[in-house]
Symmetry: C2
Subunit: 412 residues, 2 copies
């Protein structure tokens, strides 16, 4: 029988009524002839409650115990979902991570999946079971301890199961009805995309359009798992939501498919750094050690052996960055005149696989911003993305103007 993976996030299983509603959607696919693997998150709020207890108990906790505690929320939902399906006369049972067993490495709280044996579950399907309900977000380490996969880990669990079982598709049910060209709260003309390429989704996800966890998209891309994002509360059909798929499955596409933004950026400039070989390593080594996520980097033209170095990072890491760089200076590993932090910037990115084959996208982007009187502070580009840092107060205006300029309200 064809197999489908369906994943329900925390808001989709927030209480018994919601679990019933989700189970009905599973029942529809079973009635259509699919065997289904359902991946569930914890009921919304439950994981936060557990994390709160751990933090109250031990601010510097043993990640192995943390994982043992926080994974319990998914186990509850898995059992309740199986019971709900049984009540609907759908043969179902639950599996916890260790029962599959979903094996991971030992990187507790951010573990990576190593293997998912299929025999156990496949044999139950062969015996007439129609739905296997899997507690998401968790696995076991080589030491037989419970691991968790980190933020959004249930998405990753879902994609990994879809890959392991060769599922026809992996449907991610969430509280939004798909992936939009940009945030509809900012640009009212934002349009839901029917399809989007894995690469575009990765750029949009990491840039702040937080619909799918980045790792799950990477995994789907690697194993070419068709991934669909749709709402638990909207219509249910094969055309609902947004299909995240490989480029080849997208016939026609706009040159730009999405405008992403990130509000909480900071721009930091090291003024008058000695421009010598190894200087980048001397700056970004300490930052990396301090856990600062450096995003964009630019180096100004060198004058008389000295240069300015500018980078961006999340605004809440500015203090950490300043401390790391000051310490490196004090230790004599680095020399600069001044360190200037601009904490009032936002990042705007235009993303589209069409950029690969079409030129002039950057020019159109810069012209659009100029016409609105918006100054560009930093520019970075990749094959399918152009990002700029601007003053935060212009963020909404920039998103709207670019959405209009690239005509994203029109289907590609």
């Amino acid at each position: 029988m064809p197999l489908l993976v369906m994943k329900f996030g925390g808001t989709s299983v927030a209480n018994i009524d919601r679990i019933r509603r989700a189970a009905k959607r599973v029942g529809v696919e079973v009635a259509r002839g699919y065997d289904v693997i359902v991946i569930v998150s914890a009921m919304s709020g439950k994981t936060n409650e557990l994390v709160g207890w751990v933090n109250e108990t031990a601010p510097f906790y043993d990640a192995r115990e943390y994982d043992a505690v926080v994974s319990s929320g998914e186990n509850v939902t898995a059992g309740l979902m199986a019971l709900t399906l049984q009540e609907m006369d759908v043969p179902a049972r639950s599996w916890q991570g260790w029962q599959v067993p979903l094996r991971t490495n030992s990187a507790h709280s951010a573990a990576r999946i190593e293997s998912i044996p299929t025999e156990n579950i496949t044999s139950k399907f062969a015996q007439g079971m129609r739905v296997a309900v899997i507690a998401g977000f968790q696995g076991i380490s080589p030491e037989n301890r419970i691991t968790t996969l980190g933020r959004g880990g249930s998405d990753t669990t879902a994609v990994a199961f879809a890959a392991a079982f060769g599922a026809e598709r992996c449907d991610i049910y969430t509280d939004v009805d798909g992936v939009y060209t940009t945030d509809p709260r900012i640009a009212s003309k934002a349009r839901k995309l029917d399809r989007i390429a894995f690469e575009e989704m990765l750029e949009l996800a990491s840039l702040g359009a937080k619909v799918l966890q980045t790792r799950s998209v990477e995994l789907a891309m690697r194993y070419n798992v068709k991934l669909r994002v749709l709402s638990s509360f909207g219509e249910q059909s094969d055309e609902a939501g947004t299909l995240v798929c490989s480029e080849e499955d997208i016939v026609e596409s706009n040159v730009v498919n999405g405008i992403a933004y990130s509000r909480d950026e900071a721009k930091m400039t090291l003024v008058s750094v000695a421009d010598r070989p190894g200087i980048a390593a001397a700056i970004f080594g300490p930052l990396s050690d301090a856990g600062v996520n450096v995003d964009m980097i630019i180096q100004n033209i060198s004058e008389e052996g000295r240069t300015d170095m500018t980078f961006s990072c999340p605004v809440d890491q500015v203090k950490r960055a300043e401390r790391a760089l000051s310490e490196a200076k004090a230790a004599g590993e680095l020399n600069f005149h001044d360190l200037i932090a601009d904490t009032d910037v936002a990042k705007i990115s235009a993303v589209g696989i069409g950029m690969r084959s079409q030129s002039g996208v950057a020019a159109r982007m810069f012209r659009t911003l100029r016409d609105e009187g918006i100054n560009i502070k930093v520019i970075a580009t990749s094959e399918i993305k152009i990002s700029v840092l601007i003053d935060r107060k212009y963020m909404e205006l920039a998103v709207q103007a670019l959405h209009d300029a690239f005509e994203l309200e029109k289907p590609g």
Copy 2:
């Protein structure tokens, strides 16, 4: 190193502060040189929340899924307890039932423990771990599914670990400070017992003094595990609480050690039953099939081939008993003139291993009740117990009078 098992019930781990307080008690034993196995229940209220969800989801639930859901509360406490101990610099880690693995049979929700391998935990003790924290109440079946041990299952887990590891003692921390000669709310002279024999404890527990789960006492008796009941909130010393132990460890004892009562009893009389061989089976077979817990049974002297049969059962099972007997009558399997239910009775029991060697206990009990003008409706005796059914309105009076008559306020 000598080993101790310490078990903390739901109220003793109800929140992070209580878990800390419990952990401090564990720390005291570790400082005294013990390795400790800690068994924890779910935080109070949590198991009820989970059971509530299951019942809301599926009134006639699959017990395997029920067990998977309700066992999760203990996992949370186990992790939090391990973290708390680590914060106190006590080397500790948690084990869930499947990690031990605590193997049970497949009787979900009322599983029986089959084996507890010790190598894994013993080797961690050898490596310097001082406390193993075990999630109580749970195990795994031969089918690798989670089982639970039923009501009070964490007590049973604790005793089973104490037996498997040859612990010096098994301390059950709860919200009462020991076993009393009777309920202090009824008889103000009630005295805490320093020691009580397993057999006495079993009679007291099953009669309504609900301090320890019956199965845990049976298990302790079978493996001769010294069991101590004490409060999480009182003093901590080797003399605190009540030691439940074998008769040989009790030097001197009163002839009666406890007066137990049960308020919710009913007395049922089948009037004029044909007195023929097999009649008891014809009556008590259907009652057993209907799940009625028959306690005391008396048969009156037969006259002209007919007799009256009286039995007691919990008052909330009266309707079920009436239905079962009426159906048996309608089916022609049983013949009686009338069925009279007296739902206003209570059971009072005097319990003591001293009865074995001393006579006149029953006579003293009956005389005491007579002097108070209390009519005895049914009498039943065992080697170490005499029970009577009386009108419920006399229950408190009877308990007080018997407590005085047997001088239970004085240490044995």
